[in-house]
Point group: C2
Chain length 335, copies 2
Amino acid sequence: MAERIGKATLNLKNTPTVLGVGAVVGKKEGEGPLGEYFDEVHTDTTLGKDSWEEAESELMSRAVNTAIGKAGLTSDKIHYIFAGDLLNQCVGSVFALKDLEIPYIGLFGACSTMALSLGLASVFVDSGTAEYAVATTSSHFCSAERQFRFPLDYGGQRTPTSQWTVTGSGAVVLGNKENGPKITKVTFGKPVDLGVKDANNMGAAMAPAAADTISQFFKDTNASPDSYDLILTGDLGEVGSELLTKIIREKGVALGDNYFDCGCLIFDNESQDTGAGGSGCGCSASTLCGYILPRMAKGEYRKILFCATGALMSPTSSQQGNSIPGIAHAIEIMM
Amino acid sequence: MAERIGKATLNLKNTPTVLGVGAVVGKKEGEGPLGEYFDEVHTDTTLGKDSWEEAESELMSRAVNTAIGKAGLTSDKIHYIFAGDLLNQCVGSVFALKDLEIPYIGLFGACSTMALSLGLASVFVDSGTAEYAVATTSSHFCSAERQFRFPLDYGGQRTPTSQWTVTGSGAVVLGNKENGPKITKVTFGKPVDLGVKDANNMGAAMAPAAADTISQFFKDTNASPDSYDLILTGDLGEVGSELLTKIIREKGVALGDNYFDCGCLIFDNESQDTGAGGSGCGCSASTLCGYILPRMAKGEYRKILFCATGALMSPTSSQQGNSIPGIAHAIEIMM
């Protein structure tokens, strides 16, 4: 059962363990710095499906099935699946998972969904509510572009602060086991709105939320950032992560050389022309599940803080002149 | 802590209690059969805001604040708020709740969201993960029509099977207390897809999911439907609820005179011209929070099963020729 420490952090006493992970991505992600770490790289943007939306579902379906397989389980053993994505009414997740016959907890946390789903799955496993639970999310560059921005054929110019939606999905299976990376603490964040309205600068909209959740975590736990092998946000990109280090310093938290952002890891922004970095639910999901968690399992990291960030807006809310509130959820993982 | 009974049902041993409820609706709902039971009825569809989307947020904001007030609490005491709605990227909930400074768990369960949010909040309170938690959702006829169907000004014809999106929101505050309606069991459902593709007949798309979850609940608990004062689905409407009684009979469950659907309670379909009945997340939310839970608190019902149903589709998925998977989550509440 979770013990509350400080104002907003959960200390998970039964420490749910990562039993299996899956990370499935597209061509550009496969050509990036983390390319060799993913379970599958698909060069066909449709994955043989009739639409990019269905392709996104296929990414998630493959990531989830890979994770369940690596955990040595079958889908009938999974008590709950926690899932969400960026598509309107989260149809990416629905069509990915509808045939698995697993009780389905639909989430919307925008690009914070990997941490949101992992946090909820952790609470369920830690409290004994579930024996096995899956956390997953996805995004697809093409389905996101046409829903949030312009038809791809339009060839719109991108601002330097804009980020590149990752085509990818990540999935984690949690359960109780002696060995493996363990979810030890969770801080669910609150919406933070500093009035940023530029939909082409999501990093700036999300950085205040990341600062809020991470500083809350360190306040609650009385820990110091330098006791972590890795502090990982996702996906603030270059602009947002620079902003985060500044804002959070004003809150008394100094992020050092152990701080990275998933949006800056997944692409080589200069050679891959990806603006300020990767974004989309699939960015932090595929980075965490493809690169970070397997390295933890090998003992390369002992203790990390994973903080996925989301921009809680829609094209309608932006067109109506509203600001872009951000949210961030933090997960401590230990080996 | 929750004990699993049968295949998919949680038996909540610490039985989280309803401490406060709020139900805020629009004009048409105020003129319907349940009109006198709501906390607030707004005759202005915009609630004085600049858009229907902002009006929807205002409905939720008022429902949540009413519920917290009736619970004798202030928002800083609430550990988590579980919320979602039908608007793209769930901006209805975000803009309703962003200034409350409460850790925010964003959900998407379409019209099943009241049961989804209530189920998750119950698990959190039951396991001691939260002391107080809020569950809420909303919908607005005008924001839903223009997002899912046609601009209102177009004056499109409606099919007889189509339902009328409720303008309304409901909110529940849960905590531990001796007296009051208690959440005793939760069955989270799985997506069920029988291939229904008619986006003007949501009841038919959701009925199989309701049958699946309710029959699972009775199988897991070994209980009989006639031991309940009320079995309440929401919102299948007239077509869907008739279909449910037929489908579930084939699964060996006979729903009798104690079975009602929120979509059939909230409007007088004949005089109010609301097609097959009410729909939208706000339908089951405002019916449960405005009418049912207060009557339970007065002792009029002793034991109910609340099963909100959702259609997991988007206009894009429908236009691309996909089916409409349904989902339903069931909550047993006892006085």
